[in-house]
């Protein structure tokens, strides 16, 4: 069954590259939604349910870790949605913070299509 996916990144270039990788990954991708930051992502999720979220960390307005905190919070309707962080923030502290907040995966930019595909195994 096709899975709807939300891509959250303030770079349209990265959103476009991730879309291309997803369509090439031979996984059942449904609709792909896009958001420019965490706040926009929450707006998208008010109207739509998705099966996977790919999110940057370093974004204006609401960053990826704040978004993660919101989505994994007790009152969230999306707490079971797997979230993979895709970011230049590769420090051990940031990785641990994301994992502790509930991220299921972490990919450091620059990334290869294979690295993204590997992270999707078992999630879609």
């Amino acid at each position: 069954m096709a899975v709807d996916i939300l891509i959250v990144d303030d770079s349209a270039a990265i959103r476009k590259i991730l879309q291309r990788v997803l369509y090439q990954a031979e996984v059942p991708v449904g609709k792909i939604f896009e958001a420019n930051d965490g706040a926009e992502a929450l707006d998208v999720l008010k109207q739509n349910r998705v099966g996977l979220i790919l999110s940057d960390i370093n974004m204006p307005n609401m960053d990826g870790l704040q978004l993660l905190g919101e989505l994994k919070g007790a009152a969230s309707a999306h707490k079971d949605v797997p979230i993979v962080m895709i970011t230049t923030e590769g420090s051990q502290a940031k990785v641990m913070e994301a994992v502790n907040l509930g991220a299921v995966g972490y990919v450091r930019k620059p990334f290869t299509a294979e690295q993204i595909k590997e992270k999707l195994v078992g999630l879609i």
Binding site: A13, S91, R108, P110, T112
Partner: protein, 173 residues
């Protein structure tokens, strides 16, 4: 190894890593130089990212419009004849990845640092400078006959810069 040698090495490996992985481009680094001002063409695109923490400063990727279009085209698998939103966004993301990876590698030595979101300047007759009298480590690159510069200025927080990122100021010439 002093800070400039360290930055030159990090700029070289991060830039080549980003170009190889995300743009499928081979690149070669030229000899690094030190400069009191940011280096590069005064017409074109400058993508700038600030760093703050135990060491603060600024990093940038600077090139002509033609090279910016080629780098963006390689990244997005498209062709661009002129600089548009896609090109500016791609240049910002290239700078974000290059400077972000340098920052992450330097954190092992200097401690945790924060990264600003990228600022991209496009136009003619501009130059950029950081506040204070600091020295840039400048590395020229060539890829497929095109040239561009990646440079970084980083100083210890207790020294000459404030606790915030040293964002450059665009100056009309």
């Amino acid at each position: 190894m002093d800070i400039h040698e360290l930055l030159a090495e990090e700029i070289g490996s991060a830039t080549i890593g980003v170009l190889t992985t995300m743009l499928a481009l081979e690149a070669e680094a030229g000899p690094p130089t030190l400069s009191a001002v940011e280096t590069g063409p005064s017409h074109g695109v400058a993508a700038i990212v600030g760093v703050a923490g135990p060491y603060s400063g600024t990093g940038s990727v600077v090139c002509t419009e033609t090279v910016a279009c080629r780098l963006a085209g390689a990244m997005l698998m498209s062709e661009y004849d002129s600089v548009n939103e896609d090109v500016l966004d791609a240049m910002g993301e290239i700078a974000n990845m290059v400077i972000g990876n340098i920052k992450t590698n330097l954190e092992e030595r200097f401690g945790a640092m924060a990264l600003t979101t990228p600022t991209v300047i496009h136009g003619g007759d501009f130059s950029t400078r950081a506040s204070g009298k600091n020295t840039w480590t400048v590395v020229p690159f060539t890829t497929g006959g095109d040239g561009f510069f990646v440079q970084m200025m980083l100083v210890e927080k207790a020294g000459r810069v404030s606790s915030g990122p040293a964002m450059p100021v665009a100056v009309a010439l």
